[in-house]
Amino acid sequence: MQAVIQTKKLGKRYGSFWALENCDISVPEGSVSALVGPNGAGKSTLLKLLVGLKSASSGEISVLGKEPVQHADFLGDIGYLAQDIPLYKNLDATEHLKMGVNLNKRFDAEFMGKRLKDLQIPLDRPVGKLSGGQRAQVALALALAKKPKLLLLDEPVAALDPLARHDFLSSLSQAVADGGLTVVMSSHLLADLERVSDHIVVLASGRTQLCDDIETVLKEHKILIGPRKDERELGEGLTVIHETHTARQSTLLTRVVKGAKVPSDWQQHEPNIEEIILAYMGQGNEGVVR
């Protein structure tokens, strides 16, 4: 499968502070990629670099085969929803729709109108007076009406109640089901991401900790429980991501490369994606793990 996004040693520096450093990611076409990491890990910076709102300080970046720039030729294929759901509060949904038609080369007004009608969103009320969930749906409909090949969402569901969140993710999944769309979505809500995503990127301390499809990630990680062991060497192909120890027992979340052998005196358990993500998020200070 072809990569829609590819970065190599990507870095972004603000003054003397590197918000993003040596960031290598690859997002395959048609996937829904979850971008997770602690606050300040560089998620929003990465999304801004991908859409060309910021320029890289170092490294390479390719999005849909091009270098991101704020130019119609590049942006025509990209939908981007910034963190605070930017809409014009005094304008209603219909006015946003008209604006979409005027500002974009390609804009499916019929699609957006139908969508908002199906969701029973009042078209003639200023969007500032809609509920948070409705506003998010208007913004998503606006972004999808461009028929983008890539949709970048910065914490789209953070402020929504559980029902609005479900509705938003349902709309998003339906758009993905129609085909031809790749999504990168940052969020702290791991349970949601697990359902909706099939690919994951974990950032911590400005670096990529993990970038792979979720199925592979689940397959390659094991929780090993055994007698207390201080040294981290377990054997070839085994990398300890996170460890906890009691006086007699060690619990290790371990990446097990295909074909590697786990010592027989260790109990093996399958971690869920949330446990794996948390282990990698705690990794930030220890450098990049591959």
């Binding site: 048609g30 996937s31 829904v32 479900h166 993710l169 349902s170 998003l172 999944s173 339906q174 993905v176 089901a177 129609d178 349970a191 697990e194 359902r195 909706v196 995503s197 099939d198 689940l218 399958e270 869920n272």
Partner: protein, 127 residues
């Protein structure tokens, strides 16, 4: 038409949960040969999951020979999985319902009921 429920904390991969639910529906006769499964878009609209999960589940069911995809018109049930008929499933289910009611009346909680069932299964395995 059937709907799917997904439990994200069960440890069972979501696609496998869909496979299991289709099979169960076939076992008890809720789904019959010729029935159409919900489209991928209908499923994701309802449960908000990644469409590839549903594609994968349907592919798995197709590989097991239980359903078939017809281009342009959807996925249809081809046959029931091997095994006892829906009538037998339903009759046994009813018997079990009665037993569970009795157990609850006697003051057992769900955990204890599950434990009893597990022990019984274990015993039957040992013959």
């Amino acid at each position: 038409m059937i709907t799917f429920r997904l439990n994200t904390h069960s440890g069972v991969p979501p696609y496998l949960q869909i496979v299991q639910q289709v099979k169960q529906s076939l076992q008890v006769g809720i789904l019959r040969p010729g029935d159409k499964l919900p489209t991928v878009k209908e499923v994701v609209a309802h449960v908000a999951i990644n469409p590839n999960t549903v594609f994968k589940a349907y592919r798995e069911l197709e590989m097991q020979g239980l359903v078939e995809g017809r281009t342009g018109s959807g996925t249809f049930v081809k046959k029931r999985p091997e095994g006892p008929s829906p009538e037998i499933h339903n009759a046994l289910g009813k018997e079990l319902d009665g037993w569970v009611t009795n157990a609850k009346k006697a003051g057992l909680d769900e955990e204890e009921i599950e434990a009893l069932l597990r022990i019984a299964l274990h015993k039957s395995k040992e013959g």
